[in-house]
Symmetry: D3
Subunit: 319 residues, 6 copies
């Protein structure tokens, strides 16, 4: 009986340990004999695995809910090329188990408080009163949720604190590139980076564990780009900011996906909007590439990655 | 010497009459002998013609400006398949000429005041206090400019009062279709029609003659769809409207072009938004088809019409 | 034991009732122990459900065939997010069960006879002898099959009488819009509406229950648009109609899908063809939207609808 | 004064000779001094050149018409990278000039009579009575026009007899490939080749010189593919051919452009239709490539060729 | 107990015979009771079938490996519309079974040695010393692997010797078409055909049975087109060939897929490259069509064929 | 008479000064009276202007050739919205004029020698012997031409030394981003940057002034991406480099345009190739944006920029 993290599971391991229930469902098999089973997606800080308990009852359904921590014993099988856990024993964690919730969720590699402070540092570097004012107004309103929101439901930076991680990495990269492309307006660029995805907080419903259960109604009908434009409109009018400043920040948010079919009705028309777009896509892709290669051996390819145009990524031997 | 309207000009006509200068420019010919000439686009209520005065001087440049009415004598030639006027004599109109500006611009077939009243009539049919309130708030703010704005710079309804004409025709057609598709919410549909293009007033600069000289800066950086979403956000918050009402109206504006590449980052997700899209495109195309056929003889084709996917329209003999 | 219609089934219901077999098959499970089971798709006038009988034999295979009515007892399960019926008992309906076949199929909301009469009424409004003659000739030939054919295999109006329902709704909407766009030729528009999908009768094989089992060979090799063009060619020549009339009606059929990739090799070149296209797509989409929302609660979204560009439709609370 | 053919003209040549007027127009220059000039497109059997006569009058306009042969003296200039003839003297040819019209038009490299006979030979090879009957019926009806029609207005095989040339080359290539892909039905393939473009005779108006002045009304509203389908429908019904034979031939015509956006609403579903498509596109492109290279020196590139996806063709030195 | 080839299996057959293991895997069922089973894909020279052995153990896993021949007894079932073999008894073939490996793989209809000799024959027809030298150099290097490589992993010509079969059919067809398009350089065309897919030998890993297990690393990172260009570069430099010859052959390989999205960064710019493209796509499609129709009855359609733009192919009755 | 640089010309200026002839041609006007004129494109270090000398003779044609410096007197006109110079007097520069050729060409803002040294510095930072060896081998071969080559014919960095400028800016930006994305292999990234466009030296013919007259034959038939792959193949084999190193560098060159339709048959499959793509496109676009805004006043828009997806760039007032 091994006490392993999910990321270390191998086929045929017999394991025992604590995991967080990401989702749980009672399902029917397409099969004449056994009617029902419980279907779990379990996670810890190292990964996620599907797990089956081959029975189901009203009591079991009541006992296990999303976001609970459970103690599980079982065997690791492989099903359609993916590892899967066959549960032999399962119970809820109790206070005596001394569980720390942070051990069970995928998180950004930095503490949320530190990343948030970094954002405040960059906001201090903004000289324009209006640009700084709009940014502060919006960040203030969103600060609590920013602490745990991921940057996406399932693609890049879909981890607890992922929105902060994506934003701060872009700020660091942006600061570097301002040394090379020094004619850019750093106020606009920093504010654009900080605000570009902020409305994801209104577009998605995320638990405090950074797990998105669904998109909100306004997220579906309007999307985070237009919601962000609305936020800037309100903040800008509230502090009576210069009209051009409001318009430029709105344009940067509007244009940051670049292509209409990815949600940007306008392409970048100022250099800072262009740079914002490159920083955004570069950081998202580098994240996905790094993640794709984390499980791959040298000389091998990853699975096809949907967010990378369905390409398989290769881990060179010379690295 | 003929006293004809532009729409009646034929090749080789010698004409004399009053016209409005839509644009005027001093240009250089690609030619060794004559350096400069004045290039006019003249209009009256029946059409538009390019005209050349084969000389140019500082005095002439000062004398003739956009939107002035001039008296012209000249000969109608044909250049690259288009009629063109060679100006022999030109002078500004004076008060003694008894000019009525309305004779010189292409206008919608109804009076602006009547069309605006019709919009007010439909607003009266809106039962929801919030939907009506938002619509009134915005229309009030825009009413003056609505009187003369066209619905586009050069495509459909690009005439004085064209925005009103497009809007009121859609309201009439919408009312009819509500009898067939009677499960639709008429409040949303009427408000959506009235507001869908209203922000064109901020997207384009139009003279009182309904002639658009250029797009505004915010028109280019944000576009009338996002500007319209902002208008609804402000009006909705100003009257403290229900959040869902604001969101639904914003969604309708956002989705009315249907395709991302035509500026809609979201496709219609409520039936009223879907219907709004069909009313909009149907009215724009029927207008362009009717206009294309107005100069065509039975059994002939129009030129290729850019806004109709570059198709030539055929005028059937049996009509 | 509940006596419910399919549209009212809930998970875990134990139900008993009469249903129509849409399809039935003997299948093998991917499983070592039980080899075979019978896989049914059952329908009644409110919907469709997949059902399993976990045994199969030559006698059972002989006993149950497509389009039979059966009495079933079973339990409603959920499999991959869809309801599924586990059959405990099943037998064929007998004459003593007093079955009325109309209770078991999804049908248009109007009687076929009434809808067909409405089409005849509109044909009466056609003034041109040739246009009327061609339309009559074709309708006469197809009238029997029109009574039950759906308008599609699985998308919009895929119900018994769906072709009549789609056609008559378009005629009503067309009549309304002729009041607004009054320069259109109503003869062409009415005939175009009546004939635009008529060749679906030759494109698909439908049972009298309005269920399409497959496309015909000529349906696949030529498609209903070209088959319809052929019908007009023959009818027009049979009554020695004016050449232009034949050509215009053929053009309207040819162009009514608008885009080449949807089967129209020519785009609309006469206003009546343009209007026909809008009436067609508008009616198809409004039907699909209404259907999508029929099962959705206020404040919720439908599934993604394939025929609506994979959009989820939202049911507003204010409705 | 040189007596050269158009294909041999060089810049600055002073030439004199007989040419055919392809088009002639009286035009106005964009210029203050000279109002009018006559704009000719002159051809002979080796090529085409634009020519200017720098004056124009009613008499001149009456004197020179399309399809007349004229004697011209002038100088060869270059304008925007193209040779252009400045006309110094021009008169109509008279009977005393002993003009043979065949010297003035671009023609296929074989005599029309011989190519037509070749088609008859291949028709003889068709074994199926129905396939042969339909083909004969249609060819009989079109034989006169086939003698001079080009295969296109301006792209491939746009020469006198071009339709015959394209068809017979495809027949020869098809016969060769039947030796390799010997499971194909040669009856279908020969008939498909002979009929695939036959309705171009109804789609375009061509003079007896093989010069297309315009598309016909039915050519624009229906296109040669659908017109060809109609022809087969009528011929097939006239000889009471087997229904499948009619359908297969119609399918081959329908599918021969392969892509919907090039006019084929169905893709090939039988191997003979697939082969027909390849023979068609291969022959069209090889023709255009050969033509493009005819004026190019070894080691040089042709202009960009529109019909070859805007590629410039290279003439290798090793040839 | 029947002794049938896979191509002759029918549902419910009880069969016994020898088959080759294409792939074998130990899998877990999504099911509470039976944990594991062995999943085989078995082939013989007539086809392929999925087979299940409803048990699995370490010994069984050791006993059966890819590319082994086994003797199997079982029953043919149907699962999701496909035949599937339920294995009742299975053992490895022994030397006493007198197995001939050629009986178990799908092969081209000609012997590899004969097809290779045919390629040598065509190489003899190449007059240019440089073109012949480059071709020989490369063929020499690849000759061993050419004997068994297929032309693709799963699409056209995916059989043992498929690369030779595809290449030699194209050579035959090319020779025929050179009689019609006789201005083409036959040296370039023959060399282009022989070399166009040769680098597939480096792009894919194939067993001697012609079964591709995977793409190589360089196959994925560079692709057979660029690998082929490299081969020509090296061979050309090794024999000090004329620079233009090297470039033209490289261009032909580079352009033979025609469209950038299919891997050709350049479109054909010489007629021989254009012809190579047509020969390639025509042969691939005719192969796939013939294969699709091999299992279809007259009057029926094949499944949708992915490589034929998802079209179903129709087998005409008149064939 | 003003002594201005081209970048400072205004309409109606009378100017006199020295300029370099980029191109010169003798042309014919489409005009009855004056037959010929000389058409110049003149440049100096600040820009380019079209100029006309309204006469032409054999002597004049002999006197003025591309890349000569001339002294010109003339008047600045405007033609179709562009400034144009009407030449009144023109003569060749003589040795007494003390011309320095560097004053007449648009050059990168750094000296070529310094930029080349910077590349050598970065090459020193490459640790891998093989990667460094391949890079050195190629740079050595190209160093002379690198001194003056632009990075493109007409788009981004189309100035003397533009290739060095583009490469060195990317190296600087790459070094910065390696601090943020520190898991990247810096050897691969630096070598990839240095080599990614190096084969433009073989793709285009450039004068020593950095002006590209045309693409080379191999540039058109193969393109700089494939030419670069060939260079790496040869250099790698020459120094017997590790096979994977050769392959990875070839893959980076192959994938750096990302999209197949822009010339990359493979998308990036290693993180360094992905980063190379972003550095490339980011630098090209920032260059074009900066250039577009250099002539624009605050609050105004640039012309539509082809290389920026036809967007007009806005110069904000707050900058």
């Amino acid at each position: 009986m091994l006490n392993k993290k999910i990321g270390d599971f191998n086929k045929n391991d017999k394991i025992e340990g604590f995991f967080l229930i990401k989702t749980v469902d009672c399902k029917v098999t397409n099969n004449s004999i056994t009617n029902k089973y419980m279907d779990f997606n379990l996670i810890d800080s190292t990964g996620e695995i599907n797990a089956k308990l081959w029975e189901c009852s009203n009591e079991l359904e009541q006992m296990f809910k999303d976001n609970m921590v459970v103690k599980v014993r079982g065997v690791v099988n492989e099903y359609r090329g993916k590892l899967q856990l066959k549960i032999e024993k399962i119970r809820n964690a109790t206070s005596e188990d001394n569980i720390n919730i942070d051990d069970f969720v995928l998180s950004a590699p930095y503490k949320s408080e530190d990343m948030f402070d970094l954002i405040l540092d960059y906001m201090e570097k903004i000289n324009s009163k209006d640009i700084k004012g709009i940014t502060e107004q919006i960040i203030l309103e969103c600060s609590e949720k920013m602490m745990h929101y991921p940057a996406a439901k399932s693609n890049h930076h879909a981890v607890r604190g992922g929105l902060l991680y994506h934003t701060t990495t872009m700020l660091k990269a942006g600061e570097k590139l301002l040394e090379v492309y020094n004619y850019l307006n750093s106020d606009l660029l920093y504010a654009g980076i900080i605000l570009h995805d902020i409305a994801k907080i209104y577009e998605m419903d995320s638990s405090e564990l950074g797990i998105v259960s669904q998109y909100t109604v306004e997220g579906q009908l309007l999307g985070h780009i237009v919601l962000g434009v609305n936020l800037i409109d309100r903040a800008g009018n509230a502090i009576k900011a210069d009209k051009e400043v409001i318009m430029l920040l709105q344009h940067m948010i509007l244009a940051h996906h670049y292509e209409p079919e990815y949600g940007s009705p306008k392409r970048p028309m100022i250099p800072e909007a262009e740079m914002l777009h490159h920083l955004d896509i570069m950081d998202a892709r580098m994240y996905d590439m790094q993640k794709a290669l984390s499980d791959v051996n040298e000389g091998d390819f990853s699975d096809k990655i949907y967010s990378l145009d369905n390409v398989s990524i290769y881990k060179a031997k010379l690295n």
